[in-house]
């Protein structure tokens, strides 16, 4: 068996703009080089926090369902939505719980704190080490390519529409250089009072 992080393929990217954040994912699910599905989204919404998960497909689904349960329980206890920073600590501790038999995922969080109005993004390794960033976070089999496209396209204080274009182009151009990701994309642009989800058509080869 090969590396569990690259068996199914996939890519996620998150970016910060001016009072907004964007998060995008590709739609491929594969087994090695064979594409099984071209409709496998990797971004999940939990109140104000958006979670992108790349890695082993079974763990992507398992983790998304586990966090749905945990966030629903949080909402019942606290009688409010979870904030992105709190979600980051929840993801981190949940992953570290499996320190010696990890879930093979590389999560990314994006969201706007509804109390302070501040944009927030962060990424994790598979055992829960948080990577805070002021600019962008990448993850998945196209992460090398995403670093390149993000470094060249991203600039500070982008308005929501410009941030969408930057995020979408960074993602689409990165996955075209990766055989294990692509086949379409989802991009969310999150502002304090509006969330726009766009479905992007990518190359189907």
């Amino acid at each position: 068996m090969s590396n569990p992080f690259s068996m199914n393929g996939g890519a996620v990217v998150a970016m910060v703009g001016k009072d907004c954040v964007a998060i995008g994912c590709d739609l491929r699910l594969g087994m090695q080089a064979l594409t099984v599905s071209n409709n496998f989204p990797k971004i999940f919404s939990y109140g104000d926090a958006y979670l992108g998960l790349t890695g082993l497909a079974t763990d992507v689904t398992t983790m998304s369902e586990l966090f749905r349960y945990k966030v629903n329980m949080y909402r019942l206890r606290e009688e409010r939505d979870i904030e992105p920073e709190t979600m980051a600590n929840l993801v981190s501790s949940t992953l570290y719980e499996r320190r010696f038999g990890p879930y093979f995922v590389s999560p990314v969080i994006a969201g706007i704190n509804q109390r302070t109005g501040k944009p927030f993004i962060c990424g994790f390794d598979s055992i829960g080490c948080i990577d805070f960033a002021k600019d962008f976070i990448v993850s998945g089999t196209a992460s090398d390519q995403l670093f390149g496209t993000c470094e060249s396209l991203w600039e500070p204080d982008l308005e929501p529409e410009d941030l969408f274009e930057t995020c979408a182009q960074a993602l689409l151009n990165a996955v075209d250089r990766d055989a294990l990701s692509g086949w379409g994309a989802h991009v969310y642009v999150i502002t304090k009072d509006k969330i726009i989800k766009r479905l992007l058509k990518g190359r189907q080869d």
């Binding site: 099984v36 599905s37 082993l56 497909a57 079974t58 038999g101």
Partner: protein
Amino acid sequence: MEVLLGITGKDFTLIAASKAAMRGVTILKATDDKTKTLNSHTMMAYSGESGDTVQFAEYIQANVQLYGMRNNSNWQLSPSAVASLIRHELARSLRSRNPYHVNLLVGGFDVTENKPHLYWLDYLAAQASLPYAAHGYAQYYCLSILDKHHHPDIDLEKGIELLKMCRDELINRLPIDFKGLLVKVITADGIREIEL
């Protein structure tokens, strides 16, 4: 070299499984049934490690039927609920000391929303809802045929025609005789077997 195929259409889901029960290069049986009926409108086909397959399939079948009995037989699990249940059990087993090595296709017809469903699950419990699917070597030969000829609103006749194209290609390309396909179709009326 077990073959599992699934195709959805306008108002049906077709599931096909090879009839050969093999052990190494020996064919032990030519009339094997690698499918299980879960409830009135849901069934599954399975392949993988012999022993694991039947054990896991019977466990799932028993639990889906138990759910039906507990709920007065009027409220059955929908195909999507059945697929989620199976994925949950497989994912739980994956992190145990000896996981089930079973690949599955779950086919169903949702009578409340009047739609066919097909779910693809591998032994790692990766799940995908698909218009057509295959497991094993059949993937390499049949998915390309289905990419070209499948359409979401084909009728049953066209679905059977597609299965025949897949079968003929497999007979041409596979080195071992898989003894033909056992084909079942799920429609609003329930599950029935058909001759290919």
